[in-house]
């Protein structure tokens, strides 16, 4: 079966923005495809959501399951892979995926969201999944009975500490700044726990081990002294970065790597829209991302229907 590789619209990402765009595209009967690495994006890891209209309380995974169910009703084709490059060689966009495929589209919506920020220290990549993890909710229970380190003194870092201090003999919390930035109630819980040691003004400098992690070296940023902590788990909770690397050649990003958009989700390149947390929209919320996804899809629709008929695009599917 030869796979269709060119579409009027390709939506990149399947979080709230991408999935909403898919529903709007389907209802406008746009010839659309969704390419995504996973489904739900950050919503998948959200514990309890209490500010999405229509749901007094819903968990992230439950909301994502509802999104999936809704989108599946429209039979929008889906491809599961990571996008590695977006270019516009001629009149159409070209999209390359990690699994080696190339797709072409007349319009594109970038809704790829954000991913966990890496520490960028020696040993981190080597030990990913071998003691280094970015999802305390997923992998926390696997470290029961082991000493662990949490990097990041914000709310997600403290969430991890409070979860781990119940099952681990020792939990180190490492924060670069002088103060923790989490909610006071969480900080107090961590401070009161006898097995939690909080190291502020401290940076992780190296992750070491054999087959799995067995130690982390940290450095005090004020005094400069180094310390080797014997831990088998490293939980990295230092924020998020936009998944925008693949558009760098086409668009000027803001200083934190987000895609600047106007009030109609346009990027400045005709036919290229962006929505959700990958953009510079000031507030990152599920319902805002969904709304932006709708705006982007409606914008893409208006763009596509106004394109001159009879262009040669069907003959050049990248």
């Amino acid at each position: 079966m030869s796979e269709k590789t060119y579409y009027d619209l390709i939506i990149l990402g399947a979080g709230p923005a991408g999935m909403t765009a898919a529903v709007y595209a389907a209802r406008k009967q746009i010839d659309a495809l969704v390419i995504s690495e996973n489904v739900g994006g950050q919503t998948t890891w959200s514990a309890e959501i209490e500010n999405h209209l229509g749901f007094r309380l819903i968990t992230g995974p439950e909301l994502v399951a509802k999104f999936e169910d809704h989108v599946s009703k429209f039979n929008v084709p889906r491809v599961f892979s990571k996008v590695i490059r977006l270019t516009r060689p001629g009149h159409t966009f070209s999209i390359e995926t990690e699994d080696g495929r190339t797709f072409a589209a007349r319009a594109v919506i970038v809704a790829t969201g954000k991913s966990p920020r890496l520490l960028n220290v020696p040993g981190e990549k080597q030990y990913m999944g071998r003691g280094v993890t970015y999802c305390a909710t997923c992998d926390g229970p696997l470290f029961a009975g082991k000493n662990v380190l949490v990097a990041g003194g914000g709310n997600s870092g403290l969430d991890a500490v409070v979860q781990l201090m119940k099952i681990c003999p020792k939990v180190y919390l490492v924060e670069r700044e002088s103060e923790l930035r989490a909610d006071a109630v969480m900080i107090e819980r961590a401070r009161k726990a006898p097995n939690v040691e909080i190291l502020t003004d401290t940076a992780v400098v190296e992750i070491a081990g054999d087959a799995f992690v067995n130690a982390v070296t940290v450095r005090n940023l004020k005094g400069g002294e180094m310390r080797r902590l014997e831990v088998e788990g490293v939980f990295v909770e230092i924020g998020l970065v936009p998944n925008s690397d693949f558009v760098k050649g086409m668009l000027r990003l803001n200083p934190i790597g987000e895609i600047p958009v106007d009030c109609a989700s346009r990027t400045g390149i005709p036919g290229l829209y962006a929505a959700g947390d990958v953009t510079d929209v000031p507030d990152k919320q599920i319902i805002i991302a969904a709304g932006d996804g709708a705006k982007a899809a409606l914008g893409a629709y208006s763009y596509i229907v106004r394109l001159p008929a009879g262009d040669d695009w069907h003959r050049t599917p990248a």
Binding site: G129, G131, D139
Partner: protein
Amino acid sequence: MMAETSTKRVTIYSTPTCPYCRQAKDYLTQKGISFTELNVAADMEARNAMVQKSGQLGVPVIEIDGQVVVGFNRGKLDELLK
């Protein structure tokens, strides 16, 4: 097609709190594929087996007829379930 896929032996190593494990299980269920679930948070033997098979300590790990997929990777799952 369903009948063919149901002959594969599928095991999922998961923790009760992991959202991707849940998505993976929902996905398999939707496709009509039966699977064995092992809770590696509680079952040490299963955890050791998972580490030995996947060379890593992260969930979910899905084993399809002896082939191991780390994480909920639909592309790979679809390929192995063909």
